[in-house]
């Protein structure tokens, strides 16, 4: 049986983890490679690096980071942030990423998803969607870190992304991100039900129950969280046992 995935996400800026990762035994809390190794050993099902200050100048730092991580972690690695072109995808895949995530560039030009999927296969193309509630049951895509409204309906855009060839959707609720109030379950469910591809729920996790709800009520295929793991509040194992207790199948290592 296919298992629900738990994915810790590391926000990276200039080759360092933003805010640091607070693990026992981790000598350098700001080193993304050390954090990735620790999560791999702890039983994370995948890893996600998000380059939050992606600029042309610091791309090589990210490539180096991805390369060193891929040499030591034998679980899937998704890399996002500042990905605009097919060439960006190629460079990250060559560095050792398993999946590459488009965000604003896919909103501006959805066809880039098709170009990338044609070249490298849907299995490695993720479309990240940042959505905000505009009225009950209605969500709109926002870009530029949630500041810029686009007028594009999130559900319709998710369907378009899947048609273009994205193999997975990384859905972040901008209303919930950073609030620790739990996923936006109505949004997650609306998107999960609308597309044939897997949806990763993101944004707002504060408790282990939130992870469970993302799957049972939001119908997500995977759940992504950052702070609850980074600050040592909960371990990946605790999260998995909590899900097992709620009858959600997970990979126990």
């Amino acid at each position: 049986m296919l298992k629900t995935r738990i994915i810790p996400c590391l926000d990276v800026a200039d080759g360092r983890v933003v805010k640091g990762v607070n693990f026992v035994d981790l000598v350098d809390a700001g080193d993304p490679v050390a954090a990735a190794k620790a999560y791999d050993a702890a039983g994370a099902d995948e890893l996600c690096f998000l380059d939050i200050h992606a600029t042309h100048e610091n791309r090589s730092t990210m490539f180096d980071l991805v390369q060193r991580t891929a040499e030591q972690c034998f679980i899937p690695l998704t890399v996002g942030g500042g990905v605009r072109t097919v060439q960006d995808v190629r460079n990250l895949l060559l560095a050792g990423a398993d999946k590459v995530s488009f965000n604003s560039a896919a909103v501006a030009k959805p066809h880039v998803l098709a170009e990338a999927a044609d070249q490298f296969g849907s299995q490695c193309i993720v479309c990240a969607i940042d959505a905000k509630t505009v009225s009950p049951g209605k969500w709109e895509i926002f870009t530029h870190g949630g500041r810029k409204p686009t007028g594009i309906d999130a559900v319709a855009f998710a369907q378009k992304a899947a048609e273009k060839g994205a193999g997975e959707i990384l859905l972040t609720s901008m209303d919930r991100d950073g609030t620790r109030a739990g996923f936006n379950l109505a949004l997650t469910r609306a998107i999960s039900d609308a597309v044939p591809i897997p949806v990763i729920a993101s944004g707002g996790v504060g408790t282990l129950d939130h992870l469970v709800e993302g799957v049972t009520e939001g119908r997500a295929s995977a759940v992504l969280a950052a702070s609850i793991f980074h600050f040592g509040e909960f371990t990946i194992a605790q999260a998995k046992f909590h899900m097992v207790a709620a009858d959600i199948p997970v990979r126990i290592t």
Partner: protein, 213 residues
């Protein structure tokens, strides 16, 4: 010194496969691992790994179109009977035929067809993406140290329907049976990515490097 060739025919990301095979070769003193598109190296390799991402027809075309690689592969695997491992689409290419986009002839090493996964339950997503637990159908030396319930990482929208039940060595459940491992004689194919399957995957790689059928 044993030489393992991972064939590079410009089909996807070989970085993690290279690192995983090299690491297990180093740990077990199991020879050299080379990622190569050089037909001469493939022809003299002691074992061959064929990875593959993307679509069946594109992969088959790329394999046939890369300077003598295809002939070298046939020579090493069919004629010399050196151990072979196909991974993901590399495993699917072992089939008689692929039915992705268009009908494409495969290597026909394991009788069967590659068809789209069609879950009856619309809640089940395609691609089949993530960790699934292996159910073994037959024993094999490469399964040494593994047990039913061990997880490997899958990402695929098409799957291998074998014609002969004894060619399926393991499967997983995803709205029915999905073939996870095919094999016969000196040939083996994994639908999942061992290089992405952490401890279990590394063990399978190590076992393959030790396998002398």
């Amino acid at each position: 010194m044993s030489l393992t060739a991972i064939i590079d025919y410009e089909s996807g990301n070989l970085h993690s496969a290279e690192k995983a095979f090299q690491r297990m070769a180093l740990e077990g003193d199991l020879g050299t691992v080379l990622v190569t598109s050089d037909a001469d190296i493939v022809a003299k390799a002691d074992r061959v790994v064929l990875p593959g991402d993307g679509a069946f027809p594109a992969c088959m075309r790329a394999l046939k179109g890369t300077g003598g690689l295809f002939d070298a592969l046939i020579e090493t695997v069919e004629v010399k009977a050196r151990p072979f491992l196909g991974i993901c689409v590399g495993m699917q290419l072992m089939a008689t035929r692929g039915r992705e986009y268009e009908d494409t002839e495969g290597l026909d090493w394991v009788e069967g067809e590659v068809t789209r996964i069609m879950p009856e339950d619309p809640a089940l997503k395609v691609p089949h993406m993530g960790w699934n637990d292996l159910i073994f159908d037959a024993p094999h030396p490469v399964f040494d140290g593994l047990s039913t319930g061990d997880h490997t990482y899958f990402v695929h929208s098409y799957h291998f329907n074998v014609s002969r039940a004894d060619n399926r060595l393991a499967h997983v459940n995803y709205a029915g049976d999905v073939t996870a491992v095919v094999g016969r004689d000196t040939m083996l194919g994994f639908q999942f990515h061992p290089e992405k399957s952490q401890r279990v995957g590394l063990r399978l790689i190590s076992n393959f490097l030790r396998w002398s059928p």
